[in-house]
């Protein structure tokens, strides 16, 4: 773009800012405002139905309360476990699917269209569907595994505290790996064919071709997918809410559900805001770590 396209602004930047201003205003109003409001509230004793007169500034007390509570610590590890499991699987599956669908074979277009279907299904519908699949007494999964001889007795998936989180994870992976696949596929469309031909002539094997040509080429988009998926899973709420409501005995309760409970069930908006802000910080840490990684990698290349 540096060469100067038809839309480049040459006469000073004032007009450029003017054109950007609607976006900036919308972002400040819809993102910045609520974020600052949440941050401010997290330092107060605000309650959901309280009056301004009752409002006290309590400094970091909400954060201390949250960080020392066993329910938060538990929810934190539940969230991280869920994020690690689902994001890893979604990235690997997505990468594999993207690579496969970039190859030419009969029926490729149909498969590419089908790939979008799980992602296009609303999360709540997906959650209800999987809840039925996992149902302990009449679920399809039990029927399938029993008929295939894998299990002898019907078993509970969402009711088993050591399995429930992973069962939800599988539902989440099924829904979300296609978006990673699509991003990979889109990135591969721009990979120059002649580089592969040259590598082929030079005798590079498939793994070498993948690591030296494909991966550097899709690293940027892949990183975007990684960041999006990580943020999404760290603030996971709806799929868990529908499938288990955090049970059994809170073994699948992620951090965002605590925000909901504290803010809307216990009406402690101050505490709820503090947890919400901690979630934002956790996301931020992951984003910074990822972008560092990307920079180091591109420097290495």
């Amino acid at each position: 773009m540096r060469g100067g396209s038809a839309f480049a602004v040459r006469r000073g930047s004032a007009e450029g800012f003017a054109f950007l201003s609607p976006v900036v205003i919308v972002l400040v109003v819809t993102v910045g405002g609520p974020l600052l409001f949440t941050l401010a509230m997290s330092f107060t004793s605000a309650t959901f139905l309280g009056t301004l007169a009752d409002l006290r500034v309590v400094g970091l007390r909400n954060y201390v309360t949250v960080l020392t509570s066993s329910s938060f610590q538990h929810a934190f590890f539940v969230t991280i476990e869920f994020a690690l499991f689902t994001v890893t699987a979604e990235m690997l599956l997505g990468l594999g699917t993207g690579l496969l669908l970039a190859e030419e074979f009969p029926g490729r277009t149909a498969l590419r269209v089908l790939l979008i279907v799980p992602w296009a299904i609303p999360t709540v519908v997906n959650a209800i569907t999987w809840r039925l699949i996992y149902a302990p007494d009449f679920g399809a999964l039990n029927a399938l595994l029993q008929q295939a001889g894998v299990i002898t007795d019907y078993r509970s998936w969402l009711g088993d505290p050591s399995l429930a989180l992973y069962a939800i994870g599988v539902a989440d992976i099924w829904k979300n790996f296609p978006i990673v696949g699509l991003i990979v596929l889109a990135a591969l469309q721009t990979a120059p064919r002649d580089l592969y031909d040259a590598a082929h002539v030079d005798g590079a094997g498939i793994f070498r071709r993948f690591s030296t040509i494909t991966l550097p080429h899709i690293a940027g988009p892949l990183m975007v997918a990684l960041i999006l998926r990580t943020i999404d899973t760290i603030k996971v709420f709806d799929i868990v809410w529908v499938m288990t409501r955090g049970g059994p005995f809170s073994s699948t309760k992620p951090m965002s559900m605590l925000v909901y409970e504290r803010t809307f069930s216990n009406l402690e908006s101050g505490i709820g805001s503090a947890i919400a802000f901690i979630i934002t910080l956790v996301c931020l840490i992951f984003i910074i770590a990822y972008t560092r990684l990307l920079k180091r990698q591109s420097r290495g290349a």
Binding site: E15, A18, F19, P22, F48, L49, P136, D137, F138, S156, L158, G159, P161, T244, R245, G246, G247, P248, F249, S250, E261, F264, S265, N266, L267
Partner: protein, 416 residues
Amino acid sequence: MRKYLTATFLLFSLVIHLVLMRPASADEAKTLNVLVMSDTAYSDKDVSSMTASFNTAHPDINVKVDFVPYAGLRDRILLSQGSDGAYDVVLIDVIWLAEFVKRDLIVDVTDRVDPSLRAQVFDGAWKTADLNGRLYGFPWLVDAKFLYYNKKMLSDAGFSAPPKTWDEMNNQAQVLKDKGIVKFPIVWNWGQNEEIVCDFAYLLAARGGQFFASDGTPAFQSEGAKVLDYMRGQIRSGIANPSSREYNAEDGRRAFLSGEAAFSFNWQYVYALSKNPAESKVVGQVGVAPVPAGPGAPEGTSVNGSMALSITKTSKHPEEAWTYVTFMTSKDLQDKYAKAVLPVWTASYSDPTVVAGQEELAAAAEPNFKNMILRPVIANYVQMSSALQEGIQAVLYDKAEPEAVLADIASSVGNQ
């Protein structure tokens, strides 16, 4: 360039104008917003047709009804406070009354209720509207947990009557299991939700236990531990379905009505569904009885699950709202829809036209509705309930011991 800027600015203003300035409707002054629940009582269809007949009788009042599942009802009531178009009439559960009154959310209607009506409605139903002698609504639903049983399974096992006591139920269940009539004879709704606290509450009452002593100190630890031991024992021995631990009321209802259990504990709405072939594989086999009794008690004690219609403090039309509440809770209307939900009016139960076709439910309901205990009437009930749900589940999954769990909850709840 200025032209573009002006155009952008105008476009932007137009969008904001369109978003903020909604046309004011002329009849807004007479619109009532009503919030009720969509599950475990009257169906959406019933409430809509009741409301339609109200609208016909009162063409000057326009009623809009919103439905949410029970699980989201309390949060929706709280969230709508102070919002534009907040609700005028809301359905409140007996366990929220103390909190809603303390938070000043619902209107005191003591002076609107004709005192002669007090005696005509079940005492237990009033508990959902009556706090320290003041009324904050009118009972709309009277409900308690019932024992539902599968008559065919019981007679196959050689039993002619449903169990009268909790111990007898365990014995019958064991026989049913041993004879291979049903794999898991009992199904409970013991997921992490309010149902598990309801069951804990009446099992506690059956042992003569209570939540708080008269001086407000927690008193449920010692008898409560025996209750948890009883609950855990059923899961361990396999007379209760281990999947009970992930079921809500609807899950438990489905399992029972697909013939996977001989005993189930649920609200009265299950009775109507049990006769509907679309919902039930055991049409004609379902019996209903009051909950079993504890050791030495003459009768069982169920849990009060009544609900009332209340007017919110934010309502701009309390008069019209009360007209609607009066209509919805009237004996005539309730009698007409008695097939879906039994009326709150005691006289209805001796009216053969009202109980026709559901004599068995009505017969079980009368003693059951007279012997109902309340879950704790405290302003922070929701927090206590969520601690109980988590703690009881931990015991049922063998992750914690009853005594330790209840001691923790007692100290976190504190004196009331």
